[in-house]
């Protein structure tokens, strides 16, 4: 009761202002609205600057800049630029990384969330999170000195000798594998290792968030643990797992440092994954500091535009997929 009296004794103007501000709620609302506005304007600003600064290149090369059907040449000395090889490099390394990382990560996630004995979970979880936190330059260094010669080169040689010999597949798997191991394949494998912890950690959390009642319902129908995981838990968490995969893809396509260190950095190289190449992110990182001519800088910025649009498109597709899954399974 004492408190109530204190409120009544406040001056009239104080109460009026308090009423008008809804006791601070309005201030908070305005602050939060401003911060979300900041995000939107940041995206718009980046997009606009990229678009504006790539004008020179866009006018010079037009759609041919990103076309796969134009003979590609990237020659700063002659001021000739064409982006397809680096676009291809980004897509092929990220897609291979995803294909390899998804089953691997999902397996670890299922093990960590459903099967691992209680005492094994904390150390394993800790290590997964550690792996996700290793700086990419460290992955790059380790890649050059350990991973490429020890693992990538032998596997690459096997691929060149097997799939590379099959007529239709030579384009994509043709050798020989570079002795150094610097190649799109090397970059793809490094990316696999880099995105596995991300996909694992997120899908593990998705699985752990599934209500126990779902497991009980399935087991009570006489399902085995595996049937429960495969038929109930994976469908239940599908939209979340898709989100994890997209997060991994975003990380793979935007990864710069480690890829630059192991991909070989050349703009030729045809389509074979065993050849060195470039990705969009790595060509920007590698050449921007040395871009002397305005057209060179502008072309690199246009690659930035392409990267930006690609990620936006991927995100849109991902959103649609998640919505679709949710609609089908959860009815919302």
């Amino acid at each position: 009761m004492a408190n109530l009296k204190a409120i009544k004794r406040r001056p009239r103007w104080y109460n009026k202002i308090g009423y008008w501000l809804q006791h601070g709620d309005r201030i908070w609302k305005a602050l939060l609205f401003l911060s979300s506005l900041l995000i939107v304007s940041l995206v718009v600003w980046i997009a606009w600057r990229l678009w504006y600064q790539s004008t020179l290149s866009r006018h010079q090369f037009g759609w041919a800049f990103i076309s796969p059907w134009v003979p590609s040449s990237w020659n700063p000395a002659l001021d000739k630029f064409q982006a397809w090889p680096s676009i291809y490099g980004s897509l092929i390394t990220s897609v291979i990384a995803l294909i390899l990382a998804i089953p691997f990560s999902l397996g670890i996630a299922i093990f960590l969330a459903e099967l691992a004995p209680a005492y094994a979970r904390p150390p394993l979880n800790y290590m997964i999170e550690m792996l996700a936190a290793v700086p990419s330059v460290v992955y790059g260094l380790w890649g050059i000195y350990v991973f490429l010669p020890l693992i990538v080169v032998p596997i690459g040689e096997v691929i060149a000798k097997t799939a590379g010999q099959i007529p239709g597949l030579t384009t994509f798997f043709g050798g020989p594998m570079p002795v150094s191991g610097l190649s799109r394949f090397g970059a793809a494998l490094i990316l696999t290792i880099m995105i596995t912890p991300t996909i694992t950690a997120v899908s593990r959390d998705v699985l752990l968030a599934i209500p126990q009642s779902q497991r009980e319902a399935s087991l009570a129908l006489g399902a085995t643990q595996w049937e429960t995981i495969w038929n109930v838990l994976i469908p239940y968490g599908l939209s979340g797992i898709l989100g994890a995969v997209i997060l991994g893809f975003g990380r793979a396509i935007g990864e710069t440092m480690a890829v630059t260190m192991v991909i070989g950095n050349t703009t030729g190289g045809g389509y074979s994954i065993l050849k060195p190449g470039y990705t969009m992110a790595s060509i920007i990182a590698n050449e921007f500091a040395e871009a002397v001519s305005d057209l060179h800088a502008s072309a690199l910025i246009e690659i930035g535009v392409v990267l930006f649009v690609t990620t936006l498109l991927l995100n849109a597709i991902a959103r649609w997929l998640v919505w679709n899954v949710n609609h089908r399974t959860m009815g919302r």
């Binding site: 779902q214 009980e216 319902a217 399935s218 129908l221 006489g222 399974t329 009815g331």
Partner: protein, 260 residues
């Protein structure tokens, strides 16, 4: 009268431990075939533990330990040689909160049959319809079988879970407070359903609600915690007898609302 009835399950001296804590102390009772057996008692007296030990859902709790026997048609379900998958196929379960799977109504009902290898479309169609009819849900969902089961109302979801449980033709159905999360109308529908289902199945139902036990069950078990907080069976009898002429003073106190 009791001696002539066929016994479906027999619980003998059953104790359940969670690590060192004794949750249930030497419970002995029968489950009669094609009858509804209710388990009542105050919160924490081990009702759910008793129910869950009847299809080995207690296996899921780390550190749970069983003593005594649970006979299903004379065979101990805790026999190490017994296949838990087979036990759960024969003893189905409906949970307190409706838990349909995140898939279509049809797939929810067909889930169990598909586990057992039934894939033929025509057969599944028929089975799904039959199960949904038995669960008094068919008329409400027949036009939207391929919409998500999670989009149904709470009462419909619970009847979907019942349809899912009976689609594999179990012999016993365990119900863990199946109506406690539902509104009165939906509760009434579930109770009517239980009345119909006992023609085909033996039913064990845990309920907080004594009126519900009196309405739906043929037999009633009353559990109570002892001094060590372990659940003990106080009285088992024909429902009408237990509610009108309880033998034990504690049963009388409970059903007249003196505690709990």
């Amino acid at each position: 009268m009791q001696n002539t009835l066929p016994i479906k399950m027999e619980i003998q001296e059953l104790s359940v431990f969670y690590k060192s804590f004794r949750a249930l102390n030497k419970v002995t009772m029968p489950v009669y075939e094609h009858k509804v057996t209710a388990i009542i008692g105050p919160s924490g007296c081990g009702k759910s533990t008793l129910l869950r030990s009847l299809n080995r859902m207690t296996d899921l709790v780390p550190g749970a330990l069983i003593e005594g026997k649970v006979l299903l048609d004379g065979e101990d379900i805790y026999d190490p040689k017994k296949d838990v998958v087979d036990v759960r196929r024969r003893v189905g379960m409906v949970f307190q909160h409706p838990n349909p799977f995140p898939m279509s109504i049809y797939d929810n009902v067909a889930f169990g049959p598909r586990l057992y290898g039934l894939k033929k479309r025509a057969f599944l169609d028929e089975l799904v319809e039959k199960s949904l009819r038995s669960a008094a849900l068919w008329d409400e969902v027949k036009d939207k079988l391929h919409q998500s089961g999670m989009a149904l109302s709470g009462g419909q979801q619970q009847r979907l879970c019942i349809a899912r449980a009976i689609a594999i033709e179990p012999e016993v159905i365990l119900m863990d407070e199946p109506a406690s999360a539902l509104d009165p109308v939906a509760t009434l529908r579930i109770e009517e359903l239980i009345f119909q289902l006992k023609e085909r199945f033996s039913i064990v139902i845990v309920t907080h609600n004594m009126q519900q036990a009196a309405r739906v069950s043929d037999y009633t078990t009353f559990l109570l915690m002892n001094e060590e907080r372990a659940g003990e069976l106080i009285e088992f009898n024909v429902t009408t007898t237990l509610f009108t002429r309880p033998k034990d003073k504690r049963t009388e106190d409970y059903i007249t609302g003196r505690f709990g």
